[in-house]
């Protein structure tokens, strides 16, 4: 495809967030001579009582950068789609006692679906973003590869993208270290060159997570108990805690710190234990749902590869067995700590991101760990 059209006749819509990564992505594409259009997505309205809205500030940065680069810019509103497809899922998962990953869902349903469709309606050949990931065409198939910057690699969040989606995607900074991206931005004098990276879940931002969630879900405080049933204190609501968490338990006193081991939804109890390596935190197998593959699904129902169970974790060697209805059983070569239902299990073959699914159940020695969900 790329060879048939020259860059000037190839229209690329860049999803611009107002951050440095997408700014540099747009800048590089423009330098390469593409027909570049910058588009800001507004997915959430956080306008406060003073009329201040982070989206407005971010969009102002998009405007500045696009004017510096010399490309047209527009905005598009996906608040409704985001609410329906991402936020509703987010709340449902918390209600079910799991720890959802809204970024995975946002990429699957909004950025690379609704937004991609919008880009195509504008005559775009490709949608580009500032993700740290790479795509590579091999034998007519588009592979999703890890970003070169291992510390920044975002393929974990992109695991649900299909071949169809990936074939229309560009990641202009995926082959760079973050440091270089900042340098390019500084050299080009882009307005976002020194802008702080955004942290946390996009619609919560830097606000207090507990406070945010409590606006949407009723909190039901309950007991914090050990695996032996010993009461250690009170929790503010199970949804506020995730497996393996240390901070915010408020169990003082001498000895080792305390960790979240699991949740007993029926009794509204938070299971806690001492020691970061508490044996109850470890498991050797999981089941996944919503398995999706970036290329054609593997021919074999069983295969070996590596996997990540949370963002920025080291890969673990695993055996995968695909089960009906897009399910999978993933068996680890070594015990893994704090596998969390609701998070993604993402599979890799070397640098290729094969795809992934949502962690459903967690097992040890063939037994389901009922306390983790």
């Amino acid at each position: 495809m790329q060879q048939q059209k020259n860059n000037a006749n190839t229209r690329v819509v860049v999803g611009m967030s107002g951050g440095v990564d997408s700014s540099v992505a747009a800048h590089l594409l423009k330098q390469q001579g593409y027909d570049v259009i910058g588009i800001f997505m507004k997915n959430w309205d956080d306008t406060d009582e003073n009329g201040v809205c982070t989206a407005t500030e971010d969009y102002d940065d998009v405007i500045k950068v696009c004017n510096q680069i010399g490309i047209p810019y527009y905005a598009v509103n996906f608040e409704k789609q985001y609410w329906d497809k991402v936020f509703t899922y987010f709340l449902e998962e918390y209600k079910a006692g799991r720890t959802p990953n809204p970024d995975v869902m946002c990429n699957k349903e909004i950025k690379f679906k609704a937004f991609l469709e919008h880009a195509i309606s504008l005559g775009a050949d490709y949608l580009a973003t500032g993700h740290y990931a790479q795509v590579k065409e091999v034998d007519g198939e588009t592979q999703l590869l890890r970003g070169l910057d291992n510390n920044k690699d975002q393929t974990y969040f992109l695991n649900q993208l299909s071949q169809d989606q990936l074939s229309k995607v560009m990641f202009p900074i995926g082959h760079m270290e973050k440091k270089l991206v900042r340098e390019i931005a500084a050299e080009a004098g882009l307005a976002t060159a020194t802008k702080k990276d955004s942290t946390g879940i996009c619609f919560i931002g830097e606000r207090n997570f507990k406070e945010f969630l409590s606006q949407y879900l009723p909190a039901q405080p309950g007991d914090m108990v050990t695996m032996d049933g010993k009461k250690m204190g009170r929790h503010d609501g199970l949804m506020y805690y995730t497996i393996g968490q240390r901070q915010g338990l408020g169990i003082g006193g001498a000895g080792d710190p305390w960790f979240v081991l699991g949740k007993d939804l029926d009794n509204n109890e938070l299971l806690v234990g001492q020691n970061i390596h508490h044996e109850a935190l470890f498991s050797d197998q999981l089941t996944a749902v919503n398995m999706s593959f970036t290329t054609n699904a593997p021919n074999n129902k069983m295969f070996s590869c590596t996997a990540k169970f949370r963002y920025r974790q080291e890969d673990i060697k695993v055996e995968v067995e695909l089960t009906p209805n897009n399910g999978a059983i993933v068996t680890f070569a070594e015990p893994v700590r704090a596998i969390t239902p609701g998070q993604a299990v993402v599979l890799y073959d070397g640098d290729i991101c094969l795809g992934g699914g949502t962690i459903d159940e967690v097992m040890k020695h063939g037994q389901k760990l009922t306390y983790v969900g």
């Binding site: 507004k42 309205d45 809205c53 989206a55 971010d58 969009y59 047209p72 527009y74 309606s121 005559g123």
Partner: protein, 380 residues
Amino acid sequence: MNRIYLDHAATSPVHPKVIGKLVETLEQTYGNPSSIHASGREARKQLDQAREQLASSIGANDQEIILTSGGTEADNLAIFGTAMALKNEGKHIITSQIEHHAVLHACEKLEKEGFEITYLPVNEQGRISIDDFKQALRDDTILVTIMLGNNEVGTIQPIREIGELLNEHRAVFHTDAVQAYGLLPISVDDLHVDLLSVSSHKINGPKGIGFLYQRKGTKLAPQLFGGQQERKRRAGTENVPSVLAFAEAVAISQQTMEEKRTLYKQFKKTMISAWQKEDMTYKVNGEEQFTLPHILNVSFKGTDVESLLVNLDMNGLSVSSGSACTAGSVDPSHVLVAMFGEEAHELRNSIRFSFGYGVSIEDVKEAVAITVKVIKRLVK
């Protein structure tokens, strides 16, 4: 690419004669009209002539004109000025759901301060009903503010009828005429209004200048304090070059009003018949006889406004959705919500064409061709 600008309701290009006047005044008339020396007197003389020009365009007296920084300030002065002046006589204000935000947000602010606001609904044509108005009117109503012509859909409201009904009522009657001015003949006595807002940049004048007509004897509490300008109703050294340029634009717009009305009628006809011929699914929002001549708000079923506007822009056609934007994205228009309800498809697929100085029939034909090309691709 040859760009076609059909967004004159948003703002308009400055007429060459107006630019000439602006530059001439910037170069020559630098005096402060409040100064007693010759330079000041010269500025004052020209300012007074300009003010008379503005006043006569609406059948008013020059002392009834308060120069402002534009339509928004005129609306704000009318609303807050009346509310502050009459707050001891009543706290009820009547407006409509389809006002410009300069009126709506000002009313919402007063609501927070303890005033009671009635937002009159509109029918599917965007018109308020006189019956609704009569029912809303109370003894303690101190202000009625209803726009003359809507900026998004172009709907003309029954201002004269309301004005007549208010003849025997204490309430001050304000109309935001920003969008209608220069296209509808306006006489403040005929309309029975006490306050009327006008902006320069909608009629090929410079931005940042406008006026509020204040009928003699109408109470108004000033909102800006300082010097004695505007008879203490609006402090601040007069923007002499802009006022003179504005007056020039007013003169031109008054002279060309009939010509424009005829021309824009033809433009609308051209567009509509072309869409008909192309078998497009379209619907004009609002009723022609109650719509401003220069505004054509159309719903194209099967399109999405955000994609449509960008596609038209990329093809060289500047139009808008006429709705408010947050962070650059299109929010559902409060005007269309008031007309059609929260769930109506028109909210997602309506765009506004608005005509003005410099637009030719060839431009309109070209614009129609662009819309046909783009919409056919998008709907497919």
